[in-house]
Amino acid sequence: MKEESGNYQPYSYFQLMEVSLRELLVEKGIVTDAQVAEEVEAMRKRTPAVGAGVVAKAWTDPGFKARLLADGTLGCIELGIEVAALKLVVVENTPDVHNVVVCTLCSCYPRMLLGIPPEWYKSRNYRSRTVREPREVLSEFGLQLNEQMKIRVHDSTADMRYLVLPMRPAETDGWSEERLASIVTRDCMIGVAVPKSH
């Protein structure tokens, strides 16, 4: 079902609804096709690589890290990342505390840094259980934390989004910002994984 293939295919009910709604809004002069296309393109550019760049910068520039932790929104603006009217809170993993992000209400997510959230982030199972048994949920992602490690769960809202600043792996001394960014995955910044240097 590749939409770009040019193959003919029937609309699904909800696709039909999307086309109908959009055409009506265009006819009424509320949106234009160009605006929609432009936003879809902008969305394509918002990927976890943006967030990874922020993390790598924080790992290599202590002054920036301090500013980012003090005010995530201003930190992003400093790097030229558009954050709209959101409050971004950056939470730092330490040897004692591991952070993980969820949205129990719906699917709030730092999209400007990570793109559209993955399917599982929006799932009933993740949203229900992360606030109650985070250690078990993390182990299902293959992340086993020792019993001494505190886990802090952050429940996002429409106006407040969280980004996890993972711990920089010990064996990465002398790495360039670019190389550091390459090991910072989306899941590390949600808090269901930690970066690995190999």
């Binding site: 039909l16 999307e18 109908s20 936003e39 969820v102 209400l105």
Partner: protein
């Protein structure tokens, strides 16, 4: 939902289709972002999603819920009418099997 018992988290991924990205774009524009007219809020989006019957909620995909909610809001706010929507959907269906890449991408 937070705190309720639920099953194992399956780390599922989903590659979003073009129409799903357009639904997202409509949400951004209709919320007043990117030069769009402010005709809805994120709270209305959620309210109308939460109003879905639980079995429908579970059966529908993420952007199925979004497009349903946004459409509802536009009707509630009088931006479009159910009649207009019905006519439009019938008209598009009558276009037949459409080359989505040409018509809707």
């Amino acid at each position: 939902m937070g705190g309720l018992p639920a099953g194992k988290v399956e780390p599922t991924e989903h590659d979003y289709g073009e129409w799903e990205r357009r639904v997202d774009a409509l949400m951004v524009l209709l919320s007043g972002g990117k030069g769009g007219k402010r005709l809805m809020t994120v709270d209305e989006l959620r309210k109308n999603i939460e109003a879905l019957p639980p079995d429908a909620y579970d059966r529908m995909g993420y952007y199925d819920r979004w497009v349903t909610s946004i459409t509802q809001i536009m009707i509630q706010r009088g931006v479009i009418t159910t009649e207009e929507l019905g006519l439009k959907m019938a008209e598009i269906e009558n276009r037949g099997q459409s080359p989505i890449s040409a018509k809707a991408s």
